[in-house]
């Protein structure tokens, strides 16, 4: 059995602020296999963007380890990270902020190629042409500035840059949420086509559960810096085991006429500064009992390759299975 491509174990990130320590990540474990698509779902404050930054080694973990292709990278010195970065790329949410407005597209896409000494100038130019074609942009796009493109086209440029060095893993942090509805599907399909051709793994971070369900093999649900549930995508949405996952599913408006389930979670997610005692979800949980207020549940394996951190898994389950048979 081969080791996972990426494996984070017991990852913690704590930021010191004037109001106290923020535990942005609190013992997160997660893995991504080669060629796999993992969807990471969570609301604001769940720590999903901190996790992306930590896996990219842009934020250093205060605890835990990150193994990439068998090698620990969470504590490597900057210089040693170069070789890793070549194989680990990221796409950001906002294509208006992530591309340098003064650089021509040619240079934006060539930048990682130059930095990692891909080849001669002619080889780099040929590679840029190839990449533009791969993301569905015309060859003359190379000579224009990002401002001359729409949001969807800019995200194509960002994708071309991310796949320039044929990475093994691409982290996509809300890759379509800044785009118009009619454009989102273009980018989702492009990401899927590229994966089929090049075989890289994706870690897709999104707040949009139907989107993640559409493209991910496995889903990981994050709440207040902890993984509360993970498992194969169809199973998570058909039979959520954690009450938070059930609440998130029930909260998702649908257009297929079935309407939203009438399970509405009360309150707001608590601040990561004032974490509740026991299970971090208990103040909002419709099924919370005394034990949940004092004892934090561990992420326990379940049948079918699933895991859940709940003392009473499956106690809140909206009957959503019918949506999947439709």
């Amino acid at each position: 059995m081969s080791a996972p491509l990426l494996e984070a174990r017991d990852l913690s990130v704590t930021f010191a602020t004037r109001r106290g320590n923020v535990h942005a990540l609190d013992g997160v474990s997660l893995s991504v296999a080669r060629g796999e698509t993992v969807g990471l779902v969570g609301e604001s404050g769940s720590g999903k963007s901190t996790l992306a930054m930590t896996l990219m080694c842009a934020t250093r973990p205060t605890g835990g380890t990150i193994h990439f292709d068998g090698r620990e990278i969470g504590h490597l010195p900057q210089r040693a990270l170069r070789a890793v970065r070549r194989r680990l790329q990221i796409i950001f949410q906002d294509p208006y902020a992530s591309l340098d407005p003064r650089m021509k597209v040619r240079r934006i896409i060539a930048e990682p190629l130059v930095a990692h000494r891909f080849g001669s100038r002619a080889e780099i130019a040929a590679r840029v042409r190839e990449l533009l074609e791969a993301v569905g942009l015309p060859p003359d796009a190379a000579d224009r500035l990002p401002s001359q493109f729409s949001g969807g086209q800019r995200q194509r440029i960002a994708i071309a840059r991310a796949i320039a060095l044929s990475p093994d893993l691409v982290i996509a942090d809300e890759p379509v949420s800044a785009l118009d509805v009619s454009i989102q599907a273009q980018i989702i399909n492009l990401l899927q086509d590229i994966q089929q051709r090049l075989g890289m793994a994706y870690l897709v971070i999104a707040h949009d559960l139907p989107l993640v369900h559409q493209i991910a093999d496995r889903i990981v649900v994050l709440y207040l810096g902890r993984v509360v549930e993970q498992g194969p995508a169809e199973q998570i949405t058909a039979r959520p085991l954690h009450p938070y996952t059930a609440g998130l599913l029930a909260a998702t408006p649908t257009v297929d006429g079935t309407g939203r389930e009438r399970l509405v979670l009360r309150g707001d997610p608590p601040s990561p500064i004032n974490r509740p005692s026991g299970c971090p979800f208990h103040p909002r949980c419709p099924a919370a009992q005394d034990r949940c207020r004092t004892e934090a549940p561990a992420l326990e394996p379940q049948p079918g390759g699933r895991a859940v951190a709940c003392h009473f898994p499956g106690s809140v389950a909206p009957p959503l299975a019918h949506l999947l048979d439709a």
Partner: protein, 338 residues
């Protein structure tokens, strides 16, 4: 040929609608003196009392400009070029600014997308509410505070009395949006305009706010502006789909979503992931939405439309298409349930 009946202006048995937009055109003169830039191109829409109408469109479709026209806040140099907006039969276009001030926040309540920029950050919640109450009602400050507290309780703000002294930044996103809704409702408006009221919120908070809006907007009448068909499906009685400044399709929500007749509506539905779409490929709409300067002689959706035919070189009118349905298309999708 498809039948081209025009919709009667309004059947004689109808009472005066709560809100009636007629042939509303909004735009600005081109900077070089050429053809004007049109943002809304002849919009007709009515809202009945107690009805929530959803206006669904993408960025640049003109949906937010429609909200601004209805509260007299179209930003210059853009202005209302022609048409009519009536609230209970009273014309709003051309009102002097002083009368707009008594309309906004009084008879017309507003909820915006971002509660952080929609609320004045240097005013406490109590000050924001009481100022609005005293601008529109003849009451003293003590009575205004009572009304303010009741308004907060009505939108589910816990510990309402203590919250009166809080400032917007001290509240969570969900609470801020509740405060903005309280502010929209505090003077018992006749109609409430909500522009992307849940877009900045997390899913579980969005569900709470949608439930609240569904109750409160039904009590008066509401226009819900959104890019999200799911949100529209959740609380709207009727939806109007807007593209390039024109309404392209309109009808009862469930009917439009189940049997879209305009290829753009059908395209949006096929492009959005839903829990049943896993394993099948999404069908994107090719190309991208047009900008406001795009020529309007032809159907604006034609370049992206797989149903386009020769007739589409002339823009179609919005005409009746079955009971309670209107569509602007020369080649609408025929009855075949999704």
């Amino acid at each position: 040929m498809t039948s081209m009946r025009t919709l009667p202006q309004s059947s004689p048995t109808d009472e005066t609608p709560l809100v009636a937009l007629r042939n509303l055109r909004v735009g600005m003169p081109a900077p070089d003196g050429g053809a004007p830039v049109i943002v809304l191109d002849g919009v007709d829409l009515t809202i009945a009392k107690g009805e929530i109408v959803g206006l669904v469109g993408e960025s640049g479709s003109g949906k937010s400009m429609m909200a601004l026209s209805m509260i007299g806040l179209v930003p210059p140099p853009v202005r209302v070029l022609s048409g009519s907006i009536k609230l209970e039969g009273r014309e709003l276009i051309g009102l002097p600014e002083r009368q707009w001030r008594s309309t906004r926040g009084g008879t017309v309540g507003m909820v915006f997308q971002d509660p952080m920029t929609g609320l004045n950050p240097v005013r406490s919640v109590g000050a924001l509410l009481t100022e609005s109450v005293r601008r529109h009602q003849r009451v003293d400050n003590r009575r205004a505070l009572e009304i303010a507290e009741k308004a907060l309780l009505a939108v589910g703000v816990p510990a309402a009395r203590e919250r009166l002294s809080a400032y917007p930044h001290q509240l969570s996103g969900g609470l801020r949006q509740r405060v903005m809704i309280a502010l929209a409702l505090v003077n018992d408006p006749k109609v409430i305009i909500a522009d992307e009221p849940t877009t900045a919120l997390d899913a579980t908070i969005q569900a709470q706010i949608l439930d609240l809006l569904r109750d409160r907007l039904h009590a008066a009448g509401g226009l819900m502006i959104t890019h999200d068909l799911g949100v529209a499906a959740d609380i709207c009685d009727r939806i109007a789909v807007i593209y390039h400044g024109r309404i392209v399709e309109e009808g009862p929500t469930a009917d439009v979503l189940r049997r879209p007749r305009h290829p753009y509506t059908a395209g949006l539905l096929a492009a959005v992931p839903h829990f049943g779409s896993r394993g099948s490929r999404l069908e994107p709409i090719p190309g991208q939405p047009p900008g406001p300067t795009r020529e309007r002689a032809a159907c604006s959706f034609q370049p992206r439309c797989k149903h386009a035919r020769q007739a589409c070189a002339l823009a179609p009118a919005l005409v009746a298409s079955g009971p309670e349905r209107r569509v602007a298309c020369h080649n609408p999708i025929e009855e075949a349930a999704r």
